[in-house]
Symmetry: C2
Subunit: 495 residues, 2 copies
């Protein structure tokens, strides 16, 4: 038994080396790899994925997992959870044929560059064929993996939010829609105040300087991480000692990089606070996507768009962004919380944000269900934007091509963002009862980080999201806290 | 036979994936990896090296190579050369025990960070133990690999300059010494003209801008490469479509980044011009280290410190480096060719440069021969600097810790730099007979690149350095061209 545990740990070590090389290659592809070198790095990445696949489906590893699973009561809790997870992944990998898995991984890696080109050239057709294939692979894989799920989309959801279903999501979105849409309409009737400084250009260098300072203020540890640039901001981690975030600097939209930085720093703080005892295991990373997004959205919105936060940091921002020199903090606060139907999800305000998610959820579900084709996706996208937000999409770059997710194979991911908002508000409700949050000084933010570390981050993947939410807040996911938070904030802002 | 060729090619493909992942990890370790994440990436790198080792020493691969070697007359020339090289490498790998190879690779990778810390803190002791181990491994490996070589150092030379020996190098350096030292003494007697603008600070941003422009002017293809920053400038390539160079920006030494950039661009142009038919083979990279250095030194010195080159680019430099606004081109030309005994090899002028190499050659040879210990290395270093250059080393940072080579396991590498200078002058002598080189406009530089591509670069590792030198120049390595070049240039400068 001891030998088997040792052998299992050796396999995991090897698996983690392969996964780390994949992360590094992914990082390179999305940040610095030269244009004409990307295809080869994608091939290398696909090779490493194949090696990981071979390891996970090898007789040796499968026997080890099976044997350890039979004795799982005698294992320590971490190892027990790790073996269970390995068994689950093993089953999944066994059901997907090796060559298909390899081809899919290569397709997704290669498609990053194609998507970037399509987006730059406002040309959906450049990427249509690849995207069709990606959706087809996802349908196929979902069929391989389908168990008790009623429909294929539920199978895909499993990867990002275990236990979530279309049925539950339909109810969830309906409840948000019911409460948020009337509030939105009320606000849209008010006269809009112009904030020209929001689009007054700031040099990339100045933005960069401030974003680094900002990440540090929030608690991002630069000895254990990097902040770089990419087309679409993201967080990636090798382990808690190497957590990498990106942002995008657009001179004419200087606040975009700021809120992206806060968002990704939220993800990074989660990863940097994982328990040390989990680092060398399969459980040494954040939990479900929804929970991960709850952390990024918590920092981005609940902290990062609050009056109290900017009370601390606004003077420093003013020295970097000279266009703010004459703007009072109160006006800045209103500007960064302005509600306005807009095209880009990552720049949407908190109120309209969920509508952006809802339409993505509906569209990807339809494609997976076979009631919509990828060819018709741009049209369907534009119609839904018109319907929900009342605005017209001028081009694919600002429409269906704006987010990398689908083009990187992330189907079923988007709902996590909406769930994340709801989790964040529910957790914040409890946090406020335990911490006195009158200001967001650096000391106070450390208290907040410690609270999150102790209640959530340290556990990595040891507990499910629903377990954590119940343990911390005393109840299951309840969208009312989110709705209440939005109502309180926006009724005060637009009274 | 056809099957065996196919299988061999599959193995090479896999080997190249592993090597590419190693290059990428190396790149990350030296440029962007967060401090506390370096140890783990070093472990991943060591794992990939081990996998490469396993592949190269596997029965399958060894049998393939042996079988193909027996039929080598029937193979096409590229495959034939590839099989020969694989056989050579295989033999080498078989002679070094697996665990020792792995431990050494990990040690070298991890030591990069230790060396950086030691250099930053001017503390040789921090790195002494690791360096002792690195030299011990090299002595041990040399013993494993020794064939007809008279001494261990000759075995190490084989990795960088096949066919070179201490005996030949001693003669080579003696001939340079005989001619260059008197010239140096003559120059040192002249009154030194001060050039304060050489140390007038230029912001990192401005240096960066110019270095990018400069690399592009020289012909570096940014669609197939990156220019980044690192502690010690270097070139690394995944393949000809992904060639990466670094420089280092020091505000108070603004010309350091410029000449490093030209030097590394010289290496990069070599790699970017390798023949397409070699890309997927083991031969798709530059030849011996000496030949590689001949390319970097050619661009850095023969082109990059010439009057004709700056005649083209000086106006642009003046707009970036405002301290040069009032400095005439003639004065700038004299300044960048000023002869002065100095501490740092990479910033040494062309005349004293070879003395820096000579002392490194002598010291590493002594350690390998066992007549000097690593513990006594800093003292021996300082004494030689005093002896050859007549100056005192104030600290280890500017002394024995300045170059990464030894600390990264590159023992026997330094002589390549001196050989590179000699090859470069000999090649330039021939080039001048074939091209009319009255100016270095962008068009003319393209002719130069094409000449180098056609005569040298396209062949990758298909020909040995001595073959190429003979074919192109009609004779063997002859240091007289180098001596003649230096005499002509410096006698004119210091008449």
């Amino acid at each position: 038994m001891k030998d088997k545990i040792q052998e299992f740990k050796e396999c995991i070590k090897e698996k983690k080396y392969l996964l780390a090389s994949i992360e590094v290659l992914q990082w390179e592809l999305e940040t610095l790899a030269p244009k004409k070198g990307q295809d080869y790095l994608s091939e290398v990445l696909a090779y490493m994925s194949m090696k990981d696949y071979e390891l996970s489906t090898s007789d040796k590893f499968q026997n080890l997992v099976r044997d350890l699973l039979q004795e799982k009561e005698s294992l320590d809790p971490i190892l027990q959870k790790e073996v269970e997870q390995a068994a689950e992944e093993m089953e999944k990998m066994k059901k997907i044929p090796a060559e298909e898995y390899r081809a899919y991984a290569e397709l997704c890696a290669k498609n990053q560059g194609v998507w970037e080109e399509a987006k730059q050239n406002n040309n959906f057709q450049l990427v249509e064929e690849n995207l069709t294939k990606i959706f087809e692979y996802n349908r196929k894989f979902a069929r391989y993996l389908q168990k008790e799920e009623k429909n294929l989309y539920d199978v895909l959801l499993r990867d990002y939010e275990k236990g979530m279903t279309c049925e539950k999501l339909d109810v969830f979105f309906a409840s948000l829609k019911k409460e948020i849409v009337p509030l939105l309409h009320k606000i849209q009737k008010k006269k809009k105040q112009p904030f020209p400084f929001l689009t007054s250009p700031i040099s990339k260098e100045k933005q960069k300087e401030f974003c680094h300072l900002l990440a540090e203020y929030l608690g991002f540890d630069f000895e254990r991480g990097i902040l770089a640039e990419s087309e679409h901001p993201f967080t990636l981690n090798i382990n808690k000692k190497d957590v990498r975030i990106t942002t995008k600097y657009v001179e004419a939209l200087p606040f975009s990089s700021i809120f992206s930085t806060i968002h990704e720093t939220g993800h990074a703080i989660y990863e940097q606070q994982i328990g040390d005892e989990l680092v060398s295991t399969l459980l040494g990373s954040g939990g479900s996507m929804g929970l991960h997004e709850s952390q990024s959205r918590f920092w981005e919105n609940i902290i990062g768009r609050s009056f109290e936060f900017w009370k601390e940091l606004y003077p420093s921002l003013q020295t970097h962004f000279t266009s703010l020199k004459t703007i009072p903090l109160e006006e800045f606060y209103q500007a960064i919380n302005q509600v306005e139907a807009s095209l880009i999800r990552t720049e949407a305000d908190e109120l309209t944000y969920c509508l952006h998610i809802m339409l993505r959820y509906e569209l990807e579900k339809e494609i997976i269900e076979g009631t919509l084709s990828v060819k018709d996706l741009p049209k369907a996208w534009n119609e839904k934007i018109e319907e929900y937000l009342g605005i017209t999409v001028p081009n694919a770059t600002e429409g269906v091509l704006q987010d990398v997710h689908w083009y990187a194979g992330l189907i079923g991911y988007f709902p996590s963002y909406a769930l994340g908002n709801a989790y964040a508000s529910q957790l914040f409700h409890t946090m406020k009862q335990e911490l006195s949050l009158n200001d967001y000084s650096q000391d106070k933010l450390q208290e907040v980080r410690l609270w999150l570390g102790e209640n959530i981050h340290q556990y990595g993947m040891m507990k499910t999201t629903s377990e954590l939410i119940r343990e911390i807040t005393g109840e299951d996911l309840n969208p009312d806290y989110y709705i209440e938070y939005l109502k309180n904030k926006y009724e005060a802002l637009y009274q």
